[in-house]
Amino acid sequence: MNSYERVLNSLKKKQTDRVPVVPEVFGVTAKAAGYSIYDYVTSPSRLAESQLHARRLIGHDMVFAFADLSVESEAIGCELEYKEEAYPVVRKPLIENLKEIHTLDLPDPQKDGRMPVVIEATTRLRDVVADTCIVAACVMGPMSIAGQLIGLEGLLYHIVDSPDEVDKVLDYTEEVTRSYGNALLQAGAHCHIIFDPVASPMVVPRDVFRRLELPRLKRLFREFKEKGSLVSWLSIAGNTKNILPFYRDANVELATVDYTVSIPEAFDLLGDIAVNGNLRPFSFVSSSPEKIKEEAKKCLKERGNRWGYLLGSGCEVPIEAELDNIKPLVEASLEFSP
């Protein structure tokens, strides 16, 4: 059974030879391949090479077409600050007055910012793995892109002070997620992960998620699915217990849950939706391979006899972690065969 079959069978709640291992490994893969984070986020060949090299070393079941959280906002026009060994960040909000949103063009994924970098990396990854392993393309959700365009503090005030204007901003950012997501699919991605950290209940109340985020996720996942995306995957970090019951309505098929939500709780709250998680991301930096294997086995034990579970991290594995600390996930999965 190859990684592609293992993941898809698991998502269909069918038996697999072992539980699939899918930690969110992005920039952390660069160092082992001999590259800096700057190399990773700016070069399609280095991004792809890092992902493939890490998979050979770790033996996990997916590769990711993802550079960093600012690809979309940069393509729209935000100025980024680059560093050699850190992800680039938005230097300052692009718009102050929400009415300016009408002055922004939609970015062209084939031309603007580093969208072409990730698109080319996606094709390179797919060319190598073909249909033996899923290439997951990662896109930012509408609220997080809006948070970068306006600034998070500004977005939060505007949600309350000028809700109609925020709706228009989110219509625009939803379109950015859609067009970039479609381009990644055309480039060879098997599926999408939507990341939307700003939609976390740690940032906005459940009602804001339901009102502003849910209908947009629903549309995006439905359209991606219609265009051939194999799985609709949502990754929102933090304590998401009070929004997990909405995921089904948002057309989510796979949900990453953070360490603050236990595996049994996640299954209970998500119903039929598959679960990915939930090792504490900082463990991969501060802990030992032995302890990580123990934690992974605890997750596998908590999963019980349920199918539809992918062992992984509750959020991105930090870039300063060592790959030796990720390998125990595969070892645990092999030793804890279903």
Binding site: A86, R91, E153, L156, V160, M202, V208, P281, S286
Partner: protein, 218 residues
């Protein structure tokens, strides 16, 4: 003591983040004869306690806290400050002074702003030294400002080596008495030992409680 039922409305308005209403209610209470001290004690402090209780349950979120912080600052800036001499609004003593910044390698400031609003509303002198700040600058500014505490904010675990240096530099400067408090984003997953600090805060209120406990002990 005369009862002012409107004080409960003020508490509610602040907790719900209604800045204009909070200012109007505070003004109305003063016009009715309530003292500034009572507005602070029975209004602002009570609102903080109510938020603090909310913060410990799972309904807590950044949006509500930012809005409540804005309402509280509106009452401070538009009402309280007019009736109090500046020296009384905040006390310029080490145990009430905190130098606050986002560590080098990180430019996120929202968490820092929330802490600033809450501490200022609680009578602390907060010196905000900005974002992407070197450990040396935290230490220099804390000594220069006669601060009892350094508050270091970060969303990213990549900044941990820089956070760890603050305590080392304080010890080198002969000022181990200055307490270092860290908080924000991924830092919440770490321990005091990971960061070489005196306290790792899980929320802005955690910092308030920590400072209050220190003062009660002292």
């Amino acid at each position: 003591m005369k009862k002012y039922p409107e004080i409960d409305e003020l508490i509610q308005a602040i907790v719900q983040g209604e800045a204009h209403l909070s200012v109007n209610l505070a003004e109305a209470l003063i016009a009715k004869g309530l003292t500034i001290e009572s507005i602070i004690q029975d209004g602002l402090t009570a609102a903080l306690q109510s938020l603090n209780a909310k913060c410990t349950n799972e309904e807590f979120n950044l949006l509500e806290i930012v809005l409540a912080g804005r309402a509280m600052m509106a009452v401070m800036d538009n009402v309280i400050i007019r009736y109090l001499p500046p020296a009384r609004a905040t006390e310029s003593v080490p145990e009430k002074t905190l130098v606050l910044g986002t560590i080098e390698g990180d430019i996120h400031e929202l968490g820092k702003h929330v802490v600033k609003m809450l501490l200022r509303s609680s009578g602390y002198r907060v010196i905000d030294i900005g974002k992407d700040i070197r450990p040396e600058e935290f230490v220099e500014r804390a000594i220069q400002q006669d601060a009892g505490y350094i508050g270091v904010s970060s969303l990213l675990t990549t900044t941990i080596p820089s956070i760890r240096r603050i305590k080392e530099l304080l010890n080198k400067a002969g000022r181990p008495d200055i307490k270092v408090i860290a908080g924000g984003g991924a830092i919440q997953q770490t321990s005091r030992d990971d960061l070489n600090v005196d306290f790792v805060a899980q929320s802005a209120f955690d910092i308030l409680n920590y400072l209050k406990n220190l003062q009660d002990e002292g």
